[in-house]
Symmetry: C2
């Protein structure tokens, strides 16, 4: 196989320092498993704004397009909060999603046995929790037109955004969810607000049809977004795969991940459609943000970033053995009692970013 092209975009805040721990793991992959990458690194977000005056350069988008996978850190920096809507650091990730057609954002919310007490929920409610949220990520109100702020003749302003979903967009993300479910507990819950929004009504219809046509073996349920938020708190283990639109997915996946109590542990993948040459655009990033308050202190948890690499091995390179080895190493290191500050609890050993990274590689 030709060299695996990997674009690394550390971004802002803790992004660069947790990405350094990933380098230890790729070094191990090359040394011990003969798996190498052709790595390019570049700037995005606030880091790119500082250097180039834009949150992401067209060259970076081209590089991402040519890469087999993008490993992303996180963007967002309070320093740039007044830069204006078109230049905010978040544009970097939104443009990558849109330009590369990364329409399926996979967000696992998984409780690690060793960390069950980190949750604010009672242990018996979240123990063993393992949800996969499949969030549509190139459509909906994030990208719909018309949008903007207009000034009315009387001086008042009006802010406008448009939620749009087409049959095609709903079907392709639905397929990802059903396929995913077949490899898990075989159950999909589709979430919208069909009782208020026509776009949600279409969503429900299209998912229902797709299910009947192509996935009758998978259990399908439907839930309103407000009820889903409730049910995630009431009894989160009722869910296997949740499929939903961009905006609901944004909120519900953050909610679901907080149920685990350990955001610093959760990776995510955003996948596009396979091209005719078999390549699939893909971006991997931690669920947590850039955490500017702790950036540069060497205390950030590198695990979500390392597990994002593991997801990449699995989904982009079909290296299932190595993906599992990394995931198991993380579990073992946790079981030995090492903890970064964010997941610290009594009686455990508090370590910094680099010691955690080192320990995982040593375990490997």
């Amino acid at each position: 196989m030709s060299a695996r092209k990997l674009l690394i975009l550390p971004g802002d805040g803790i992004g660069p320092e947790i990405m350094r721990e990933v380098a230890r793991v790729t070094a191990w992959l090359s040394r011990k498993r003969g798996i190498t990458f052709d790595v390019t690194e570049d700037l995005v977000g606030g880091a790119s704004l500082a250097e180039y005056g834009t949150p992401i350069r067209p060259e970076v988008i081209d590089k991402a397009r040519e890469a087999d996978a993008v490993l992303f850190g996180s963007v967002g920096d309070p320093k740039w909060k007044d830069i204006g809507f078109d230049k905010r650091p978040e544009v970097a990730i939104l443009k990558l999603r849109q330009e590369l057609g990364l329409f399926a954002n996979l967000r696992p919310a998984k409780v690690f046995d060793a960390l069950v007490d980190a949750s604010t929920l009672k242990p018996d409610v979240v123990k063993g929790l393992d949800i996969m949220i499949v969030r549509e990520s190139t459509g909906g109100i994030y990208f719909g037109d018309p949008r903007g702020i207009e000034t009315l003749p009387n001086g008042e302003k009006r802010g406008i955004n448009t939620e749009v979903y087409s049959t095609h967009e709903i079907e392709r993300v639905g397929r990802v969810a059903f396929e995913m479910a077949r490899k898990r507990q075989n159950s999909v819950c589709s979430v919208e607000k069909h009782n208020v929004m026509e776009s949600g009504l279409l969503w429900k219809e299209v998912i229902t049809d797709l299910h009947a046509r192509e996935y009758p073996d998978v259990t399908l349920t439907h839930m309103l977004a407000d009820n889903c938020a409730m049910q995630l708190v009431r009894n989160p283990r009722q869910f296997d795969v949740i499929v939903t639109g961009n905006l609901f997915g944004d909120i519900l996946s953050d909610l679901a991940s907080m149920l685990t109590g350990s955001l610093g542990m959760l990776p995510s993948a955003t996948l596009g459609a396979k091209h005719s040459d078999g390549r699939m655009p893909a971006l991997y990033e931690p669920i947590h943000g850039s955490a500017p308050d702790i950036a540069g202190k060497g205390i950030a948890n590198p695990i979500a970033q390392i597990l994002s690499l593991a997801m990449m091995l699995r989904y982009s390179f079909n290296l299932l053995t190595e993906a599992e080895m990394i995931e198991n190493a993380v579990s073992t290191v946790l079981a030995t009692g090492l903890r970064t500050a964010d997941i610290m609890s009594e009686g455990k050993a508090r370590v910094g970013t680099d010691v955690m990274g080192e320990a995982i590689v040593r375990e490997l």
Copy 2:
């Protein structure tokens, strides 16, 4: 003062049976406190569909407009799930909000000491929780145009909804939130997605300006909707008043209420602007839904509906003493150990709808 005109709309599912318990309380108000109402009752939701083929008749909207307050049960019945978008039972509540201009939906999420264990969250996270969500309820994506489902030339369908907020709409609901905060812990958190949506950007600007101009004494913070969902799980007691748009408010208020573990306890109010004659349109309803699965069994919890009446006494009729008397009676009855099925726990006495209603009135 002239007779207090009250329109009662029990609606579907458990609505009628919990509304019967309210009648006990109004009987007590008249008997012991000399407070009387001129009561009219009518059908909405599935009940109205069955009788008149529409979820709400124009006459009912007129009656609601003429009333000093509307006491609402709940709507929604799986029997009507295929009736079509324009006739679904939910249209009843949406029309009432819009036609009466009920733009401020107040949703308290309060943990009763006696019920702290009912939450799926750890007691030390939710004990004493007392959040007031002020949700905009006549605008945003619920009512924006264009909307609908269109068929494209290639046979594909597209579902469209539009989020629109104007300066005026944001300001008036912002004022309600700031006023509310002054009577509470003096702190407002405004929630939107200004990093993705221009309507959220305008929301944030307008709230910021309003604060600087009229409420500099209140503490104002801003939070993204996804982060707010997380923070409600991580540390809900950081919030006093939350102000947000219609769709985020729908989801976040349901999430917040589920933190309490006892939906059957939570009332809500939806208020409009004061007319020139001093009257204020107002509707009061429990947060919970019509619960068709337990309807007619006599086991539903009437407390949210009774506390909705208490909110009505407070906000529409300025009967603060009586409102508090009812709230205290509820607390006392809980403290004596009476529980409906939804809030039942070991060692308590399980009772039905009517025994609970009776006990509260006896306590009064």
